[in-house]
C-alpha cells in the first residue's frame, strides 16, 4: 500500500513491476457458469496468492445467503450515521446560498450575522468545488466565485444551535451583479444564448457519463462533441437493409439519498478528524489534505454508517471544506449537514439527454452501423455523455458517436449509478426492439444474433423460458383495452473496474477472536458482511463472530465505492490478508504443538496435522497455543490474473406493464431480472441491490423529474413531496435470478452489482413493454400520464415523422 500513489494511476504504475519481479505459479481456475459453461482455465498468479477458491457450492460461508453483518444495528436505530454524530461543544452550521442563478458577487456583508446571538463564526467561500472550472480563470474577473446556479453556497455560519445558524445565515447580505442566465437545455444550445461560462470550462471529476474531458472543444454553452469513430458509419448505413432512426429525451434525476451530504469536522492542532457521509473516506481525506495543505497523516475521516449516496458522495465537497474551515476558525467541532432543498440543488444529479440514434442492419439482423449524436446537460458541470450502451452492448461494423455537454445555470451533475447508461440504454434498447419489429424478428433472437457475450446468452435463455416472457403476445397492441398488458425486455452492460488502491488487514488474537480492518466504507451494499464472510471461510468461524472495522482512514486504505468497484477491488485483498494471517497463525502455534507450520492446516474451523501428530483441534483451542497475543497480515489488491481479458457485467431484464389507455398511467406489474457479477459473495445482499436498482429505474422512468423555472432559474420541486420517487404502492413483484459466473481474475473472482442492477435497463424494458401493450413508442422520460396520453393522441403519421423512420 502506498497512499501517495494517485488513484487514477494505471495498474502499470501501481506496482505491476513489483508483481512481475515476484515469483509466480500456474493454477487451474473455474471459469464459466455452473450448469451451462463451467470449465477450468489456466492462470499464472503471484506465488503469494492463496489457493484457488472453489465454486460457491463447495464453500461454507462465501457465496451463501448471509445475514447483513450490521443489520440489527440499523434496524434498532443504534447505527450512528454522520447526521447522528454529536461531539462535546459541537457547533451547527448552515450555508448561505445564492438565490439567483447567475451573478457576480459584488460584496458580502457578514457583520450582522457575526453578531447574531449564538454565532461563533462565518466562513465566506473562496472556491466552489463541483462546478466546471474555466480553462482561463482570469475570464471571470470577480472577487468571489461567480454564481452559476441558484443554490450555490456562498458562505457558511456556525452557531450554538441549528436554528441560530439558519437565522444568522439569513442575515448575511450578499450584493449581486445579476448576469443573464439560461436553464433550458434547448435554449442554451442557441448561438445567442446567455453564456454560463465566459470561456471553455472543464470539470476534473465529471459526472462520469463521458464526453467531459478538457481535450474537448467548446463553443458557446456546448462543450463538445467528444467524438468516437470506428469504421465508416456512412458506408454502414448505405450497406443496411433497414435503418431505425429515432429521437429520445431523458430528464434530470436527483440522487435524493435519505441522508443528505454533510460532515462533522473537528479541527485540532494535532489532527483534523472528519465524520463524513461519503462513498470514499480516502477521497475526503485526499481533498481536505490537498485543500488545507495538511499532511495526509493529519487528516482522519470516519464513516461508520452512511445513508445512501448513489454516486454523489465523493470528496469533501463544499460542505466538507466549509465545515473544516469553520472548525479551524472557531476551535470547536462543526456539524454541517445539508437540508433537503440544498441536497436537490447543489450536490449532484443525473444529466439529461437528447439523443438522435440511428442503427443500420442487414436483413439477418447484423448491425452495419450505429450513430449516436447526444446533447445532455450536467448543469454547470460536465459528463452528460451517454454512448456507453451504444458502444458496448452489441456488435457493429461501424460506430460513430458524438457526445455533447450543454452548460446551463443549474447545479453540477455528479456520478449517478451507472453514469450515462440508463439514458443510453433507454434509447438503444428501444431502437433495437424497433429493429426487431422491422425485421420481423423475435427481440431475443435478434439479440442472440448481435450479442456474443456468453453470459448474456445464458441469461436470455433463462428469460426465454420464463413464464412472463412466454405470456408475451408477440403482436403489439393485441389487447382490446382500456387497460392493455405488455411485456418488454432490455439488456444492460457495465464494466469490470478495479481500484488497486485497496487493502485490508486481518488480525488473529490469542483468545480465538478475529478482526478485519479496512478504510472502506459500507454504503449500504454490504461490504462489511462480505469481509466477515471471507475471514469466516478462512478460519471456519461464523461471519457474525468476526469483528469488522471499516470506515476509518486509520485502517488500511480502502477503495472509494463508485462504479461497482468495491467488491472486485477489496475482496481479493481481504482474502489474501486472511490467508497470510492464517499462515502466520499456524507458524505461531506450531512450536507449542511440537510440529512445523507446514504440517498444519485449517479447515472447517479446526486445525489439522498432516502427519497425524494430533487429532484435529478447534480453532479456538489452537489459538490459545499462540506464542504471541496477536498475529496480523495486511494485503493489497494484486493485479487481475488475466489483465488482457476485459470483462463486462450486466443482465437481461423483462417488465410486464398494464397501461391504462384512458388515464395514460403505466403500472409495472412484474419484473424478472437476470444478472451477473462474477462470483456472488452474498446472494442475499446482491438480490437486495438488484431490487433497489430496478426500483430506482422504475422511479426514474415513471416519476422523477427535476423541474426548473425558466423565468427565475429556480428548481420548483426541490423537496420530496413534489419530487416524486417510487414508493411502496408502486413496487412491482420482482424476481431476481443471479447468474453465477466465474472469470478467473482474482482470489475471490467477485465483482460488484450496483451499476448493472436494473437502473440501466428499467426504462427501455418498460418502454418496450408499453409498445408491446399499445403499439405506441414512448421515447421521452419520465413517462408521466401526460406524456403517455400525448403519445397516444399523436397521429401515427406524425409519430413516424417524429421518429424519423427512413425507409
Amino acid at each position: 500500500m502506498n497512499p501517495l500513489i494517485p488513484q487514477s494511476a494505471p495498474d502499470a504504475v501501481l506496482g505491476a513491476a513489483a508483481d512481475a519481479a515476484a515469483s509466480t505459479r500456474a493454477v487451474e481456475m473455474p471459469v464459466g457458469i455452473p450448469g451451462y459453461t463451467l470449465r477450468e482455465e489456466k492462470r499464472t498468479v503471484p506465488a503469494s496468492e492463496p489457493p484457488v477458491l472453489p465454486v460457491n457450492k463447495d464453500l461454507n460461508y462465501i457465496g451463501k445467503p448471509t445475514e447483513r453483518w450490521d443489520g440489527l444495528e440499523k434496524a434498532t436505530g443504534r447505527a450512528r450515521y454522520t447526521a447522528d454524530v454529536q461531539l462535546p461543544g459541537m457547533l451547527y452550521a448552515s450555508f448561505v446560498n445564492a438565490r439567483i442563478p447567475h451573478a457576480k458577487i459584488v460584496s458580502i456583508d457578514t457583520s450582522e450575522a457575526e453578531n447574531y446571538p449564538g454565532v461563533k463564526g462565518v466562513h465566506v467561500m473562496q472556491h466552489e468545488l463541483g462546478n466546471a472550472v474555466l480553462r482561463n480563470p482570469a475570464l471571470d474577473q470577480s472577487r468571489y466565485p461567480v454564481v452559476r446556479y441558484a443554490g450555490q453556497p456562498i458562505a457558511a455560519v456556525a452557531a450554538a444551535t441549528q436554528e441560530a445558524a439558519e437565522e444568522a445565515a439569513a442575515k448575511v447580505k450578499v450584493k449581486y451583479e445579476a448576469l443573464p442566465f439560461v436553464v433550458d437545455q434547448n435554449l442554451a444550445r442557441e448561438p445567442n444564448a446567455p453564456q454560463v461560462f465566459p470561456g471553455p470550462a472543464d470539470e476534473a471529476g465529471s459526472a462520469g457519463g463521458g464526453g467531459g474531458d478538457s481535450s474537448v472543444k467548446q463553443k458557446g454553452n456546448i462543450h463538445g462533441p467528444s467524438v468516437n469513430k470506428h469504421g465508416d458509419a456512412e458506408q454502414g448505413f448505405k450497406d443496411a437493409d433497414v435503418i431505425v432512426d429515432a429521437h429520445y429525451t431523458t430528464q434530470v434525476q436527483t440522487h435524493s439519498a435519505l441522508e443528505t451530504h454533510g460532515v462533522v469536522a473537528d479541527w485540532k492542532p494535532e489532527m483534523l478528524t472528519v465524520y463524513a457521509s461519503t462513498q470514499g473516506t480516502a477521497s475526503v481525506r485526499a481533498e481536505l489534505a490537498g485543500f488545507f495543505k495538511l499532511p495526509m497523516s493529519k487528516v482522519r475521516v470516519i464513516t461508520e454508517f452512511m445513508g445512501g449516496g448513489f454516486g454523489a458522495k465523493f470528496g469533501a465537497g463544499n460542505p466538507g471544506v466549509a465545515a473544516a474551515a469553520l472548525s479551524r476558525k472557531t476551535g470547536a467541532p462543526v456539524r454541517l449537514m445539508l437540508n433537503r432543498e440544498e441536497e436537490h440543488l447543489s450536490v449532484g444529479n443525473r444529466p439529461s439527454s437528447d439523443q438522435r440514434l440511428r442503427i443500420g442492419a442487414k436483413k439477418d439482423g447484423t448491425i452495419t452501423a450505429i450513430q449516436l449524436i447526444s446533447y445532455g446537460t450536467a448543469g454547470c458541470g460536465t459528463g452528460a455523455g451517454c454512448a456507453g450502451p451504444a458502444t458496448n452492448l452489441y456488435k457493429w461494423a461501424a460506430l460513430h458517436t458524438e457526445e455533447n455537454d450543454v452548460f446551463i445555470n443549474a447545479g453540477p451533475a455528479s456520478a449517478f449509478r451507472a453514469p450515462g447508461h440508463p439514458q443510453g440504454a433507454f434509447a438503444l434498447e428501444q431502437s433495437i426492439d424497433d429493429l426487431a419489429a422491422k425485421l420481423q424478428m423475435d427481440p431475443i433472437d435478434l439479440r442472440d444474433r448481435i450479442d456474443e457475450n456468453p453470459v448474456r446468452r445464458v441469461q436470455r435463455q433463462i428469460i426465454r423460458e420464463s413464464a412472463i416472457w412466454k405470456s408475451r403476445n408477440p403482436k403489439a397492441n393485441a389487447d382490446a383495452g382500456p387497460i392493455k398488458r405488455g411485456v418488454g425486455l432490455s439488456q444492460s452492460v457495465w464494466y469490470r473496474f478495479i481500484n488497486r488502491n485497496s487493502a485490508a488487514e486481518v488480525r488473529v488474537h490469542k483468545d480465538g477472536s478475529l478482526e478485519i480492518l479496512s478504510a472502506v466504507q459500507d454504503i449500504g451494499s454490504g461490504i462489511k458482511t462480505v469481509l466477515a464472510q471471507i475471514v469466516a471461510e478462512q478460519f471456519g468461524v461464523p461471519p457474525a463472530k468476526i469483528a469488522v472495522k471499516v470506515g476509518d482512514t486509520n485502517y488500511p486504505v480502502g477503495p472509494n465505492s463508485g462504479g461497482s468497484v468495491t467488491t472486485a477491488s477489496l475482496t481479493p485483498a481481504a482474502r489474501d490478508a486472511a490467508w497470510q494471517a492464517s499462515r502466520k497463525f499456524l507458524a505461531s502455534i506450531a512450536p507449542a504443538l511440537h510440529t512445523t507450520a507446514a504440517d498444519l492446516s485449517i479447515s472447517d474451523g479446526k486445525v489439522h496435522s498432516a502427519s497425524g501428530k494430533f487429532q484435529p483441534i478447534s480453532f479456538r483451542a489452537a489459538a490459545a497455543k499462540m506464542d504471541t497475543d496477536q498475529v496480523s497480515a495486511q494485503a493489497r489488491r494484486v493485479a487481475d490474473y488475466d489483465p488482457h481479458h476485459y470483462n463486462t457485467y450486466g443482465g437481461v431484464d423483462i417488465a410486464e406493464v398494464a397501461v391504462d389507455t384512458g388515464t395514460g398511467r403505466i403500472h409495472v406489474k412484474r419484473v424478472l431480472a437476470v444478472h451477473d457479477c462474477g462470483r456472488p459473495m452474498n446472494p442475499t445482499q446482491t438480490i437486495s441491490q438488484i431490487n433497489g436498482g430496478m426500483i430506482q429505474g422504475i422511479s426514474y422512468t415513471l416519476f422523477e423529474h427535476r423541474l426548473l423555472d425558466p423565468n427565475y432559474g429556480l428548481m420548483m420541486n426541490a423537496n420530496l413531496d413534489k419530487y416524486k420517487i417510487a414508493g411502496s404502492l408502486e413496487i412491482p413483484e420482482i424476481e431476481v435470478q443471479l447468474t453465477e459466473s466465474y472469470i478467473g481474475q482474482s482470489s475471490t473472482d467477485a465483482s460488484g452489482i450496483g451499476e448493472a442492477a436494473g437502473i440501466i435497463s428499467a426504462g427501455a424494458a418498460i418502454g418496450n413493454a408499453v409498445f408491446n401493450a399499445t403499439g405506441v413508442r414512448i421515447r421521452q422520460l419520465p413517462m408521466t400520464p401526460a406524456v403517455v396520453l400525448a403519445a397516444f393522441n399523436q397521429p401515427q403519421s406524425t409519430l413516424e415523422a417524429l421518429n424519423g423512420e427512413a425507409r
Binding site: E67, R68, D70, G71, L72, E73, K74, A75, T76, G77, R78, A79, R80, Y81, A83, D84, Q86, Q162, E163, H255, S256, A257, L258, E259, T260, F305, M306, G307, G308, F310, N339, R340, I523, G524, S525, G526, T684, Q685, I687, S688, Q689, N691, G692, G693, M694, I695, Q696, S699, N719, L720, D721, K724, I725, A726, G727, S728, L729, I731, E733, I734
Partner: protein, 229 residues
Amino acid sequence: MGERTSSPPETLPERNPTEQARQPASGGLTRRGFLKGAGITAAGTALLDGLQGVQSQAAETGPAGVKEYGPNAAAVTLRVNGRERAVHIEPRTTLAEALRVHLGMTGTKISCDRGVCSSCTVWLDKMPVNSCMTLALDAVGHEVTTIEGLSEDLERHAVIESFVRHDALQCGFCTPGMVMSSAALLERNPHPTEADVRMAVSGNLCRCGTYPKVFAAVLDAAGRHAQKA
C-alpha cells in the same frame, strides 16, 4: 385547524397523508395547527380510532387549561419509552429535534423535514406520527415510543428481527421509521395482507429500494407477532 374527519376517507392517500389533514375545518391554517395535523403518517391515517384518541386528549387541555410557552425555551417533561425526560425546548422545537438533539436519541432520523418521507416516524400513544411535523410541546402528556423503545423488547416486536433476517434494509437510514410504521401495523392488525403492509409503509420512502423485502419481513413477522399478542 384541530378538527379531523371522523369517518374513514374513501381512499387513503398514497404518499402525502397531509392533504386531508391539512384541510382546516374552520378558520385559517396556523403553523401550530398545521404541524399538529401534518404529523400523522400514512400509517397513522389508517388508524382513525387512535387518531381520535389524540384529538380528544388534546381537547382536554382546552382553552381554559392552556399554558402559554415561548418565545424562549422552557422546561417541559416528555414521556419517552415509558420514562419521564426533562427537556428545555423552544415552542418551535419539533419532536424529532427534541429526541435527536436534546435527548441524544438519534435512532429517529430526519431526512425531508417536512413530513413526506417518514424517516422520523415515532408513536404518539401508539399512533405513528412524523416527529418532524409534530411539535415537542404537543407530545407533552402523551406516550412517545421511539425505535430505541421498540428495540428494548425484540421478542415482542418480531418485526425488527424479521427485517434483519429478510435483509429488509440496505443503507438503513429509512429503517427505523420503516420499522415503526410496520410495528404499528402489527399492533393494530395482527394478520395484515401484503396490501395492508404496502399501505402502512406508503409514507416511508426508501431510496435504496428495499420495499419487496420489507413486505416479506412484515408478513413473516406478523404470524409470530400474533402468536405473542
